[in-house]
């Protein structure tokens, strides 16, 4: 890449907890090997495989039974330790986190909801409120900003913070917030990312009844694609300006050069059929980065493996890049759809691609759907990209794209 501007925002720390295992190295190795990380699900629901983190997660006494919080803490600790920016004043440290719906455990269904179901099939909400008002963990666990607050406390971050909740675009949005805070000079360092786990009965059931989960396995951009594999995970990045990273000799893994967002303004669950919002989001990210479409080598697609979603994104990519077939793939076939965490896990994958010089393969993809005008990287490709876009699109139509540029140390 060309000389890095002093005020460029760069990535100096990464953390991940995914179906590949705990840690960024586990994710990198899985992507390099095109490894399918799903495991069989043996519950009562018609869900054949899930992308569950296989390693034991360090539990947290303040967050009992809150697996998604544990995922966030593990990834954040890894990213923060790697960045090693201990001298930044606390009021100059920012935290932005993307999160999703909290898990509802079978115990909560049984003890919090079921007893208050009347004979008429209606809930006695007042009784439910009285019951939950006792000092029980469940209601507190459902407060989305709790994990953000805990991360602020752990990393002594008293600067700007926020909790994004924009479905599957949440983590990418949070990373974008960190970029903006650094550009504005509101902070000197930002811990950004996202976390989620919907691998619990009610979470999976929600996607089953929506028809979003594949009854077999995720096959992105394939003519037989029929949905995604549910995953869980967390991804975290430490962002700071190039000047401070260089001053303390930190490794710069990549530059976060731009962020773009848009809304489909179309439908609660279905994407715009032509991918208009997706295209606008990518164009905005490039504009924010000051880069032309011609500079992009690879798009880490949202690529859920749903019939409508892959089609809309492919059309958007084709319009943006024209006749130049830019390489695309998605890591969801490998580690599953981590829902609110997806934008962060895939941001980590994008930075890994830039830093180590490879294009992740598209695990689960067999043949290219002839109706999709894209160049799918079927298996991991030994090619060093210079500019990578990472797409995240959510229910409600919120879209977010991050633009990463290869760092000077790679």
């Amino acid at each position: 890449m060309s000389k890095l501007a002093e005020d460029a925002v760069v990535v100096t720390g990464m953390g991940a907890a995914t179906a590949a295992g705990l840690g960024v190295a586990a994710l990198r190795d899985a992507l390099l090997a095109d490894r399918f990380c799903g495991t069989a699900w043996n519950g009562a629901l018609p869900v054949p495989v899930v992308g569950s983190c296989p390693d034991p997660l360090p539990p947290d006494a303040h967050f009992p039974d809150d697996r998604k919080a544990w995922l966030a803490f593990a990834a954040a600790a890894e990213a923060w330790q790697q960045a090693g920016a201990r001298d930044v004043p606390s009021d100059r440290r920012a935290v932005f986190l993307g999160t999703g719906l909290s898990s509802v455990t079978p115990e909560e269904l049984e003890t919090d909801l079921y007893p208050h179901l009347g004979a008429d099939g209606r809930f006695d909400r007042a009784a439910m409120g009285r019951d939950l008002s006792r000092d029980r963990g469940a209601p507190r666990r459902h407060m989305p900003a709790r994990v953000t607050a805990a991360l602020r406390e752990r990393f002594e971050a008293e600067g700007p913070s926020g909790t994004s909740f924009s479905a599957c675009a949440a983590a990418a949005q949070a990373i974008g917030e960190g970029l903006l805070a650094l550009r504005r000079g509101e902070a000197d360092i930002a811990l950004v990312g996202g976390h989620d786990s919907m691998i619990h009965p009610l979470g999976m059931l929600s996607f089953v009844v929506l028809g979003a989960l594949s009854p077999s396995r995720c096959r992105p951009f394939d003519p037989s694609r029929d949905g995604f594999m549910i995953g869980e995970g967390a991804g975290m990045l430490v962002l700071e300006r190039a000047s401070s990273a260089k001053a303390r000799g930190a490794t710069i893994f990549a530059e976060l050069a731009g962020v773009g967002s848009s809304v489909d303004a179309w439908n609660a669950t279905a994407p715009h059929p032509e991918g208009a919002g997706a295209e606008l989001s990518m164009r905005r990210a490039l504009r924010s980065a000051g880069l032309p479409p011609e500079s992009v080598d690879y798009v880490n697609c949202h690529g859920t493996g749903t019939p409508l979603g892959d089609r809309a994104e492919s059309l958007a990519v084709a319009r943006l890049f024209g006749e130049r077939a830019v390489a695309v793939s998605t890591i969801k076939g490998a580690v599953g759809h981590t829902i609110a965490a997806a934008g962060a896990v895939e941001a980590v994958a994008s930075v890994l691609a830039l830093h180590h010089g490879f294009l992740p393969g598209c695990v689960g993809h067999g043949d290219l759907d002839p109706g999709l005008p894209v160049d799918v990287v079927a298996t991991c490709r030994n090619q060093a990209p210079q500019v990578v876009l990472s797409n995240s699109f959510g229910f409600g139509g919120q879209n977010c794209t991050l633009a990463f540029v290869r760092g000077p140390d790679t």
């Binding site: 179901l117 439910m128 459902h142 967002s261 609660a268 229910f395």
Partner: protein, 266 residues
């Protein structure tokens, strides 16, 4: 290739432009619009009829109470800005503070009944027999970003956006980031505010509760004075009057301060 969407150059601090409030809307237990600017007590928004604000009945069925309030307040605030629809859709932003709803428990009632034929909850039966009895959009109904989703679709707001879940500060984050989006040239018009509904949760939360939605439209004030956002209002003041308002607390307090102050000034 389609032509580039009109966009302003990347943000630089020097390129900041002044911002004005083009309109505000307020739905709170004290009333709707100017009636809501003073007084009030915890509880529901008086005389609020969602059907009067949301004509699409199919969408209305998918909205919880807080989403209904939010979508209504977005419509009300845009109604107060002549010519807002002349701004290209890609330059119309939306920033919202809202709490997740965890779905409507009533959507699970049939499945829970099916899971307990002997009077004891059985998770296996819940999964086997209850699954077909759950509304397909149960998950979607509980999403925190439903105000963004529905309001953007109704008003073709395709621009920069965010949805925040930071408890009582959610709406404040929406206001400040919405303001910044216009100031930094990332949007020409932004709808920003918050919505929440906690009526009936008094015992759960241990405080009197209310419901509310408040939104403002930020617009570039070309050649005019820049809006002074000020600090986040003291939320205990408004909540001691109107009850716990969650993500709507800051926008309600800010609008009451802004519009109440403006009324006094005039």
């Amino acid at each position: 290739m389609t032509p580039m969407t009109p966009m302003t150059p990347p943000y630089t601090p020097a390129a900041r432009r002044p911002v004005k409030v083009a309109a505000w809307s307020l739905f709170c237990p004290a009333g709707i619009g100017e009636a809501g600017l003073q007084g009030g007590q915890p509880g529901k928004v008086p005389a609020f009829k969602a059907r009067a604000w949301v004509k699409d009945r199919k969408s209305l069925k998918l909205m919880g109470r807080s989403v209904q309030l939010g979508v209504a307040a977005v419509r009300a605030v845009l109604d107060g800005v002549p010519g807002w629809d002349e701004v290209p859709p890609s330059r119309r932003g939306i920033f919202v503070g809202a709490s997740p709803q965890l779905g409507d428990p009533d959507d699970l009632s049939y499945a829970l009944k099916a899971a307990s034929p002997t009077g004891t909850f059985d998770l296996q039966k819940f999964a086997e027999d209850g699954i077909d009895l759950i509304h397909p959009l149960w998950l979607v109904r509980g999403l925190s970003n439903n105000v963004v989703g529905f309001a953007s679709a109704f008003h073709d707001l395709q621009g920069v956006n965010a949805n925040y879940c930071d408890g009582r500060l959610s709406g404040w984050n929406a206001l400040t980031e919405g303001y910044a989006a216009v100031a930094e040239g990332r949007a020409d018009i932004v709808v920003a505010g918050g919505a929440d509904a906690f009526v009936g949760a008094d015992e759960l939360l241990g405080v009197p509760c209310g419901e509310a939605a408040a939104f403002v439209v930020f617009q570039a004030a070309d050649g005019g004075e820049d809006l002074e956002m000020g600090d986040c209002p003291e939320l205990t003041d408004v909540e001691s009057t109107l009850g716990y308002l969650g993500a709507a607390a800051a926008p309600v307090a800010w609008v009451r301060r802004f519009a109440g102050g403006a009324a006094q000034d005039s």
